[in-house]
Symmetry: none
Subunit: 216 residues, 2 copies
DNA sequence: CACGCAGTAGGGGAGAACCCCGAGAAGAGC
DNA sequence: GCTCTTCTCGGGGTTCTCCCCTACTGCGTG
């Protein structure tokens, strides 16, 4: 294969410089961006093979780029690059469509290898991440807010949503009360509100409602 | 790294021979099995680093091996090997705990590379598979292998199964009684039997049990 | 025929669920 | 300051769940 055409998105100048020099001569760097909006425009314009994408950026982060470009240029593959190995971050970008996720402590050679693999269609994960990404998958994807707006869910207050999750899992009022360190009566109160707002009549319907929305 | 210790499970003699010669000198082959039960025993006994596991085998398939060994030897990593690239197969083994999945048309060198990567903790997928595995993840995989014979479900009488379905949908005893034209007390009676036989304690667990088996 | 099993049904009770009502504290907004 | 929402908590009551127990009927098997 020829050198893959790579686009680099990161808001840290230093990191871009480091990556640029590590990858010099190994891949074809077709552009860089240091913020979300510019990244989206340039990626769509240049259609690189692989986008090296920082996860944490002002203006929506890497997920925003993935969403925007994914529709316009589905052939562009994304390799998420992050200092974080937090499960939520990883899962969020994977769900948004990234084909790989590596942390920034990998070597230049490993990064190059990862880019070639992603360009070839492989999925690439750092060893430490592979485990829980697949675990999360095998357990069944936990939900991710990240954007989608649910008018019904939005009616609920934060506390009500917390209570809802326990109830939908089959916890009794008493269990939830212990879990949240409040009175069972308060739990009851929240559940009543939830049932009323969602126009449901009992906890079984609530369980179904929640599981349809993948809140469990 | 030293050569990883590899165990090979496949019911086709020809394929085992092929793999054996391809991997000779590259990895340390510590054993082989051609059927599920033997595979489970030998893997647990020998604790290899990586198990090369055929997906389609009589006696439960690779998933049965994954399940049985996963509990006893959680450190053993599995690389699923299959002629099939059907989404259901792939997803089933991933959910059962496999750390990788490659099809049998890969080269010996690629297979060796995949084994080393899995041994190191990486997740490995054939290019063609990486896409939809991650797609399934991002959409949220909700596939189940077809339920063949279910010993737990078999314990239940016809009537108990009828009642179970209503209860799992959130019907009250009274509702079910009306539906089946019997007394609520009889419904209660059946539910008690079901809970006892399945060793569950309440209707919520029953709902989960039923939905896992697609009885709704 | 005796026995076990599936299906039917009821009594009684402890605890959970769900409903009505009211009410105080804390914070956000006009 | 006043209001509105959220979160908190209680009393009191009805219904539902789940458990214990007993008991009758019909049906197939040894």
């Amino acid at each position: 294969m020829n050198q893959p055409r790579v686009f680099l998105v990161d808001d840290h100048e230093l990191i871009r410089t480091g990556i640029r020099s590590e990858l010099a001569g190994v891949v074809e760097l077709v552009g860089e961006a240091d913020e979300v909006a510019a990244a989206i425009d340039m990626i769509i314009e240049r259609s690189p093979d692989v986008v090296l994408l920082d996860v944490h950026m002002p203006g929506g982060g890497g997920v925003a780029v993935l969403r925007a470009v994914g529709d316009a240029r589905p052939s562009v593959r994304f390799l998420a690059l992050s200092v974080s190995d937090a499960a939520d971050d990883v899962i969020a970008v994977i769900r948004a469509g990234a084909r790989g996720y590596v942390t920034k402590n990998i070597s230049g050679a490993e990064l190059a290898d990862a880019i070639y693999r992603v360009a070839a269609g492989d999925a690439v994960f750092s060893p430490r991440l592979a485990g829980f990404v697949l675990d999360a998958f095998s357990l069944e994807g936990r939900h991710l807010e990240a954007g989608d707006v649910d008018p019904e869910l939005d009616q609920l207050t934060t506390r009500e949503r917390q209570v809802l999750r326990f109830i939908a899992r089959g916890y009794t009022y008493r269990d939830v009360a212990v879990e949240l360190a409040i009175s069972p009566k308060t739990v009851e109160s929240h559940v009543s509100s939830v049932l009323r707002k969602l126009q449901l009549t009992n906890r079984h319907q609530l369980s179904r409602w929640a599981s349809e929305r993948h809140l469990l």
